[in-house]
């Protein structure tokens, strides 16, 4: 098992390296002087010269990548000219709201989608199944920000139940924190629920056709136990996989949702940085998000060992 873990971890390193190369190249392949682009429109000649020296822009491109990558490895993602702060500290400051939003969304999505998927598979072809599949196509199609405004309009403006926008830190109390996050999380979880419910249904449906399900039913186990203990456990690997892959959707959704609900997190930082053409920040945030995405999928890979003891390469 340790060699399996080691091999999985080793396999993600080249992916991270390629992501770094791509993020690095994104800026170099853009027409214009990278130092001038990085320094921003308001920069003086001095500042541009300093950035040029710092990045080693007069040296060959491989050297430049080496310098930049070395900086990234030590946690130095460069300096934001718009916020006048290091990108690393910016990310650290904006992490809490995004982490809260993503975690709450993930919890809602999993706790809603998995039971829905199991019931749909259990009553395959019935009205519940068809309704869930219909909902899932709709969930994929309705844009996050349209849904966000519909929810704001109904829940916050017409009913007045929840605040329209904003964020309260967790340290300021659990209830205000939750009140500000519940609507964004529901908005963001819809597409995720659609995705997970679909895969849960297909996966459980396949497991239900297996011989051991017939055996379990034949020996008189209660149906709930057959569904959860026998079918769902054996259907877990594809479900966990799609939860991991779906994190990409979640990150994309965070950018939009935080923008609509005025949550000062990483997604909002991305949009603000793009609007200000603050490239060190854009680069840093993309690297950070990709790193998290790869890391989560690594954890998902490792969790296979837990769900399916046969996986021990």
């Amino acid at each position: 098992m340790w060699s399996f873990l080691a091999r999985r971890v080793a396999a993600t390193l080249p992916v991270m390296l390629i992501v770094a190369v791509l993020v690095f190249l994104m800026l170099r392949l853009t027409p214009g002087d990278p130092a001038a682009i990085l320094a921003g429109d308001a920069a003086s000649t001095d500042q541009i010269a300093r950035i040029r020296a710092n990045l080693g822009l007069d040296r060959p491109i491989f050297m430049q990548f080496g310098i930049w990558f070395g900086n990234v490895l030590t946690g130095d993602l460069g300096e934001s000219f718009y916020y006048k702060a290091t990108v690393t500290s910016l990310i650290a400051h904006r992490l809490e709201p995004t982490l809260s939003l993503a975690t709450l969304t993930l919890l809602i999505a999993v706790f809603v989608a998995v039971p829905l998927g199991v019931i749909a598979a259990w009553r395959f072809g019935g009205w519940f199944d068809r309704m869930l599949m219909g909902f899932s196509v709709m969930g994929f199609s309705i844009p996050v920000f349209v849904l966000a405004y519909i929810l704001i309009w109904i829940v916050s403006l017409k009913l007045g139940w929840l605040p329209v926008q904003g964020y309260q830190r967790f340290a300021d109390g659990m209830l205000p924190w939750l009140r500000h996050l519940i609507l964004p999380s529901i908005t963001l979880s819809v597409i995720y629920i659609a995705l997970i419910a679909r895969v849960t249904r297909a996966s459980v449906l396949e497991a239900l056709g297996e011989d051991y399900i017939r055996t379990a039913r034949a020996k008189g186990l209660p149906e709930a136990r057959v569904l959860v203990r026998h079918a769902l456990t054996n259907a877990a690997v594809p479900i966990v996989t799609v939860i991991g892959i779906g994190v990409a959707l979640l990150i994309g959704g965070v950018v939009v949702t935080e923008s609509v609900y005025a949550i000062p997190g990483l997604g909002r930082l991305t949009v603000d940085a793009v609007l200000a053409r603050d490239f060190p920040t854009i680069q840093g945030v993309i690297l950070f998000f990709s790193f998290v995405y790869v890391l989560i999928n690594l954890l998902v890979d490792l969790s296979y060992v837990f769900f399916d003891p046969r996986i021990r390469y």
Binding site: V23, M26, P143, Y149, V199, A202, G252, S259, I286
Partner: protein, 312 residues
């Protein structure tokens, strides 16, 4: 003893079993309700896009200071480019500059469809080329697929946002920026299809007859990839429309003078509390269009590509 009916008889005979006609996927697709509903809705939207100038619209960039923030259905005036002031009914209301939302939404259909269809075609074309190369030229496979893994590790919207920010928004850059993150998925699909198909006896036969590699790729392998690629293409089209709207909505997409659904909604954000129609109407059009493409894609997948339907 009963004499077997001809149908039973046929079912028993070995020769007839070999020629049992399997209904082709295309015919099944045409009978599927998802394909019919999705296809018809999409045709209707396409018709709206083409016929936008003749559907009671005015030039979507026209504005009139006297017709600001009108509610849907209100009458007002609008000044044409010639300086004439004509009366106009604002079916979907007007925005804070006094522009007709109805006209802007209808013209926005064009942008969305162009972006969706172009991204689908472009990512299919590049993905097919990379996938064929990767599946057939083994020496290229390792490098190319690692490169694709790298792109897939970056969330699609982030790539699109970053590229548009670097290149400055125009129709072409938006299309290219949305296409790039979609290429790896097509490449992977084509590669896996090629790896399966190249083991088929007819490919082996072609190889042993000395058929050149390019001819095997295009004449023997590619035609068998069309159904799954078409399915993938519809999903990319839906995604392309969505991402374009997101980019415009965030203010990093197409220039604000082009009427796109995302731009209309971006402008309606500030006054959303009082005038939700600025976001409501383009939002509904966007959702219905993406829904139509997705329903069509679902139907095509279930009928053309049963293997893939089983996977998800």
């Amino acid at each position: 003893m009963e004499t077997p009916s001809s149908a039973q008889f046929e079912a028993l005979s070995v020769e007839s079993a070999a020629v049992v006609r399997q209904e082709s996927g295309w015919r099944r697709a045409r009978r599927s309700w998802s394909v019919r509903i999705g296809g018809c809705a999409l045709l209707l939207i396409l018709a709206i896009a083409v016929a936008a100038p003749w559907l009671g619209t005015v030039d979507p960039t026209l504005f009139d200071a006297g017709s600001r923030d009108l509610r849907p259905g209100a009458s007002g005036e609008i000044t044409t480019l010639e300086g004439e002031t004509v009366s106009h009914t604002f079916v979907m209301g007007s925005d804070s500059l006094g522009r007709d939302i109805y006209s802007r939404v209808l013209y926005g259909t064009r942008v969305s469809l162009v972006v969706g269809i172009s991204t689908a075609l472009l990512s299919l074309a590049i993905g097919i080329a990379c996938g064929l190369a990767s599946g057939y030229l083994r020496w290229l496979d390792g490098i190319l697929m690692r490169f694709m893994d790298g792109i897939m590790a970056i969330p699609a919207i982030l790539i699109a946002i970053a590229l548009v920010a670097l290149w400055k928004g125009s129709l072409l850059t938006v299309i290219v920026a949305i296409t790039i993150p979609e290429i790896p998925r097509v490449t992977r699909l084509v590669r896996s299809l090629v790896l399966t198909i190249r083991e088929e006896p007819y490919v082996e036969a072609a190889i042993s007859l000395g058929t050149p590699a390019w001819k095997i790729m295009f004449a023997h392998i590619l035609p068998n990839c069309i159904a799954p690629l078409l399915v993938q293409g519809t999903f990319i089209c839906a995604l392309g429309i969505l991402i374009e709207a997101i980019l415009s909505f965030l203010g990093v997409g197409l220039p604000t003078d082009i009427p796109t659904w995302g731009n209309i909604m971006a402008e309606g954000r500030i006054h959303f509390n009082e005038y939700p129609h600025n976001i409501f109407f383009p939002g509904v059009f966007l959702a219905i269009t993406v829904l139509a493409v997705n329903i069509l894609g679902d139907g095509l997948r279930d009928t053309l590509d049963p293997k893939m339907a089983k996977r998800v």
